[in-house]
């Protein structure tokens, strides 16, 4: 199939980006192959694993299910953009301190999904955290440490100001 290209511009991790993409390309392919941001992972390419989770206007979505052209005019945050001026974000630090990462393949997606849960409501239960990561598969950790990490980040964020959207 041949297809035309479209020029789109959007905000990516705080900076302006302008690219032309084939109109049928998905956002994950654009991020990884075109913009060389390989932190967002390709696990399944069909919305099942969550390794490609990014924030679009602050909302977590699967980059593999989103048309790249639909990024036009929007604000994207990937794992490369969650760091703050002081270094790792609260969520990233919690993943490190709780040992929630093993092979690390699911980690960018889980950090993004965790960050979106944290931005939405700082007061959620462990049960809600479990439900919140239903769309993220991890083959290594058994999830317990991931859930601990997200709960820890929520705890430390309750006293601190909101850090990322």
């Amino acid at each position: 199939m041949k297809c035309i290209k479209q020029e789109i511009s959007f905000t990516l991790n705080g900076g302006a980006v302008c690219v032309d993409v084939p109109v049928t390309t998905d956002t994950l392919t654009m991020l990884r192959d075109r913009l060389k941001l390989t932190g967002t992972k390709y696990g399944c390419g069909e919305g099942e694993c969550g390794a490609c989770t990014i924030l679009v206007d602050g909302v977590a979505v699967n980059a593999c299910l989103m048309f790249a052209v639909d990024c036009h005019g929007r604000e994207l945050t990937t794992i490369e953009g969650v760091q703050t001026e002081d270094g790792l974000s609260t969520m990233q630090r919690a993943f490190v301190s709780c040992g929630a990462t093993q092979c690390g393949f699911c980690t960018p997606g889980l950090i993004m999904q965790g960050t979106s849960l944290l931005n939405r409501s700082p007061d959620i239960s462990v049960e809600q955290i479990k439900r919140g990561i239903e769309g993220n598969l991890c083959r290594c950790t058994g999830y317990h440490k991931v859930i601990d990490a997200i709960a820890t980040a929520l705890d430390s964020n309750r006293s601190a100001p909101k850090e990322h959207s």
Partner: protein
């Protein structure tokens, strides 16, 4: 295979319907069905690709004159979070709660779920039991024309509906459920999240003094389209529920469906599940005070 020669991202209904009137196009909203279908070549490519995600008018949930209206572009996440729907039509919210995952719900739209016309489409079942109508818009005689039809008449086969090439699903609407309406949605899958329903059951009706005054039942994934369970409905109304009666009604449900066997389940298992889900649902409804 055709090439994609044009891309449009209209921002209003007049703009969109005029583009649709110009010739064959593929529309996408959330893209959660279209992106994977295009990637594997499961969808014929049309010359124009239209991003309908920017039509703000087609997004949102409202009520006026006793009618609830949900815009075609409303996301499943917005439905799940809607306090008003939770209060007046919780059966829709129950379905949104078993839908895919958080990430998919944020992107997936109601219009996309309906127009994808999967026999297992989760948002379709609760809307069938609420007697919903779809509103289809197109460009006619220099303005946007709208027609409505009952959702139960909309589906013609797996992935097939009555929508015409030049039409867009603008909204879904249904009467505000009467007081004492009970609504339930149950979906059976092999795991709680990210699963296509092996079967699903929806029920809504006015229940007073332990008895349904009216009832609507719908089944998912047991026929080429989502279907209403008219025989089950007839068996359910004006009957005082007890263990024996519930078992009889569940048997009517079982006899009413004729599913196929596929990779997810055998016909026998699906039929059995319909009976089981129906029975459990009725027991639960029976035990809940009116």
């Amino acid at each position: 295979m055709a090439n994609v020669e044009r891309y449009e991202a209209p921002e209003s209904l007049p703009e969109l319907t005029q583009i649709l009137a110009e010739g064959p196009a593929t529309m996408f909203a959330g893209g959660t069905d279209v992106v994977p279908q295009m990637r594997v070549g499961a969808r014929p490519v049309r010359p124009t690709l239209i991003n309908i995600n920017r039509l703000a008018d087609l997004r949102g949930i409202s009520e006026s004159n006793g009618v609830v209206r949900i815009g075609g572009l409303t996301s499943v996440a917005d439905i799940l979070d809607c306090a008003f729907l939770k209060q007046v039509a919780s059966v829709v919210v129950q379905a949104a709660d078993c839908f895919a995952s958080g990430q998919v719900r944020n992107a997936a739209t109601l219009g996309g779920n309906i127009c994808n016309a999967s026999p297992a489409g989760d948002m379709i079942i609760p809307l069938l039991v609420l007697d919903a109508e779809v509103e289809l818009a197109s460009w006619r005689n220099a303005c946007v024309a709208r027609r409505r039809m009952p959702l139960c008449d909309f589906f013609t086969g797996p992935g097939k509906t009555c929508i015409e090439d030049a039409e867009v699903l603008a909204a879904v609407q249904f009467p505000v459920p009467k007081p004492h309406t009970v609504g339930r949605f149950r979906k059976f899958g092999t795991r709680p999240a990210l699963d296509i329903a092996v079967v699903s059951v929806g029920l809504a009706g006015v229940k007073e003094n332990g008895c349904f005054k009216d009832a609507r039942v719908a089944f998912g994934a047991v026929a080429p389209t989502p279907i209403r369970g008219r025989n089950t409905e007839a068996a359910l109304v004006h009957v005082e529920l007890d263990g024996d009666r519930i078992s009889d009604i569940a048997q009517v449900a079982e006899q009413e469906v004729s599913p196929i066997s596929d990779v997810r389940a055998s016909a026998w298992y699906r039929t059995h599940l319909i009976r089981e889900l129906m029975e459990r649902m009725l027991h639960e409804v029976h035990q809940t005070r009116d």
